[in-house]
C-alpha cells in the first residue's frame, strides 16, 4: 500500500518569459492537469482590486456606480495577495473589511479648473500601501515618455470635481472578473505532423502549391531543393537550365515540355554533373496548425487521402499566459499550482469521516460474515 505511487513527473520548458507574458511547454501529464491549471489561473488565483467606493463629490458626467465599476476594473499590483486575508475571514476587523490585514485604502481628489478637459486616471489614485498601486504600463526603458498617463477613469470639464475614498480587497476571479489576474490563458495540444513523402511526390508542383495554400494558417511551405542525383536514375538527356535555391524561379532556357507538365522534379546538367531540383513540401510551423482539418479535407478532395497525418499529442501542451499586470506571468503560474495544492489539501477526508467508516466497515463485515 505505502510506496505505491501513480504520480507523474511532468517536464516544463519555458520558451518565453516577460513580466506580463509567458509561453511554456508542459509535458508528461494529461489534459486534466493542464485544464485545471488554466482554470485556476483565470478564476482562483487571488489579486487585489477596489471593492468598496465612498463617493464624496461627483459632478462628472458619469454616475457614481459607473465610476465605482471602472475603479474596480483597474489592475492593482498584487504580489501581496497570496499572503493577505480575505475580508470575510479576517478576525482583526470582524468582517468589517477595513483593516490593514485585509484591505488597502485609496483616495482620489481631482477638480478641473481650466478650460481644457482634464483626464482623471489611475495615476490620481493615492494608495495607503506603496506595494499595492495601480499597475504601470509605461516602458521602463523610456524615461521621458509623456504619453503614459495611466488608465483613464473619467474626463472632467471646467468646474467638475471627483472626490472619493476606495477600499481594495483580496478576491478571486470566480467572485468577480475584476479579481482575475489573467488576461488570457490558453493551452494547445502539441501537433505532430507527418507528411507521406511518397504520396507527396505523386503531386505536381501546382497541386502541391494548391494543397499548401489550403491551410488557413502558414503550416506548410514549398521549398526548392537542388541536389546532385545519380546518373543512373536521371541519366537521360534533359534540357539545361539553372536552378536557384531559395526561390522557385527557373529562368533560363528550359525544356518547355517539362514545365508544362509542372513536374516538381526537374533535372539540369551543369559542368557535366546531373542536378535535380525538387520541390519539397515542408512543415515550417507545426504549431500554427489550428486543428481546422482543412489540409486533410483538401487531400481527400484531391484523391490523396493519407497525404498527411496530424496527431494531437495527448501528453504535451503549449501554454500561453498573459497577465493583467497585477502579478507577473511566472508568478501567476506558480500561484496557480500553489492554489491547486491548497484545494487538494482541503478535499482530504477528515479524521472523523475515516473513523466513522472504520466502525461501519467492522459492522458491515460482521453482517456479511454472520
Amino acid at each position: 500500500m505505502e510506496g505505491v505511487s501513480y504520480a507523474r513527473m511532468p517536464r516544463v520548458k519555458i520558451r518565453e518569459l516577460k513580466d506580463d507574458y509567458a509561453k511554456f511547454e508542459l509535458r508528461d501529464t494529461d489534459a486534466s492537469i493542464a485544464n485545471a491549471l488554466r482554470r485556476v489561473m483565470i478564476a482562483e488565483v487571488p489579486t487585489i482590486a477596489i471593492d468598496l467606493v465612498e463617493i464624496e463629490v461627483n459632478s462628472s458626467v458619469l454616475n457614481d456606480e459607473f465610476i465605482a465599476h471602472r475603479l474596480g476594473l483597474i489592475p492593482l499590483t498584487s504580489e501581496r495577495a497570496m499572503s493577505m486575508r480575505f475580508s470575510r475571514d479576517c478576525d482583526a476587523c470582524d468582517g468589517d473589511g477595513q483593516c490593514e490585514f485585509c484591505s488597502v485604502e485609496f483616495h482620489l481628489r481631482v477638480k478641473c479648473m481650466t478650460d481644457q478637459t482634464l483626464d482623471v486616471s489611475s495615476k490620481d489614485l493615492y494608495s495607503s500601501d506603496h506595494s499595492v498601486v495601480p499597475v504601470d504600463f509605461s516602458d521602463p526603458s523610456n524615461h521621458e515618455s509623456s504619453d503614459n498617463r495611466g488608465i483613464i477613469i473619467v474626463k472632467l470639464r471646467r468646474g467638475q470635481e471627483l472626490r472619493l475614498r476606495a477600499i481594495a480587497r483580496k478576491g478571486i476571479g470566480k467572485d468577480h472578473a475584476k479579481w482575475s489576474p489573467a488576461a488570457t490563458v490558453t493551452f494547445m495540444y502539441e501537433p505532430e505532423i507527418h507528411i507521406n513523402e511518397d504520396l507527396m511526390e505523386t503531386l505536381t508542383l501546382e497541386e502541391k502549391r494548391e494543397w499548401v495554400d489550403s491551410s488557413p494558417t502558414r503550416v506548410f511551405e514549398i521549398d526548392p531543393v537542388t541536389q546532385q542525383c545519380s546518373l543512373l536514375n536521371y541519366g537521360f538527356g534533359y534540357a539545361l537550365f539553372s536552378a536557384f535555391i531559395g526561390n522557385a524561379i527557373v529562368n533560363s532556357v528550359h525544356n518547355s515540355k517539362l514545365l508544362s507538365l509542372s513536374s516538381s522534379r526537374i533535372i539540369s546538367r551543369t559542368n557535366s554533373k546531373e542536378w535535380c531540383l525538387t520541390f519539397i513540401v515542408m512543415v515550417v510551423d507545426a504549431e500554427a496548425y489550428t486543428y481546422d482539418d482543412e489540409v486533410l479535407k483538401k487531400a481527400e478532395a484531391m484523391g490523396k487521402p493519407g497525404l498527411v497525418e496530424i496527431i494531437a499529442r495527448q501528453d504535451s501542451f503549449i501554454f500561453t499566459v498573459e497577465s493583467t499586470g497585477a502579478i507577473k506571468a511566472s508568478q501567476l503560474v506558480l500561484n496557480a499550482i500553489e492554489i491547486l495544492k491548497q484545494k487538494l489539501d482541503a478535499v482530504r477526508l477528515s479524521e472523523d469521516t475515516v473513523e466513522a467508516d472504520d466502525q461501519f466497515g467492522e459492522l458491515g463485515a460482521h453482517m456479511r460474515g454472520g
Partner: protein, 141 residues
Amino acid sequence: MNAPDRYERFVVPEGTKKVSYERDTKIINAASFTIEREEHTIGNILRMQLHRDPNVLFAGYKLPHPLQYKIIVRIHTTSQSSPMQAYNQSINDLDREFDHLKNAFEVKCVFLLFFEQYICKFYDIIITGLLVYLGILLNIE
C-alpha cells in the same frame, strides 16, 4: 434581488463538511464522495488520477446542478483496495505531481532570469568598453 451571494459558490457554509463519504449499500468497494464548493477543476483531476490506479474499476464525477455548488465523485474498486484508499492515494499522487511541477517551473524561471541578467550585464560592459575605446581613439586623433 433573490440571487444567491456570489461567495456562495466557493465558501463552505459553517457547519457543513467539505467532504462527506457514503458507502454504496448494494455493491461492496463502491462509494460516493460529496465535495462541497468544488467543481470541474478538482473533479476532473481526481477522476483522471483515479483512472491511473489499476485497482479502480470505476471513477467518475458529476456536477449535479449548476446552482448546487458541489460535486459527487463515485469510486468503485477491486477487493485489493477500497474507495477511501484510492481516493486518498489519488490526492497524494496529485499533490506530488504539483510539487514536482512547481519545482520544475521555479528552477526554469530562476535559470532563465539568471541567464538574462548575466547577458544584460555582459552587454552593458561591452557597450561601456566600446564607448571608452572610441573616446580614446578620438582623443588620440
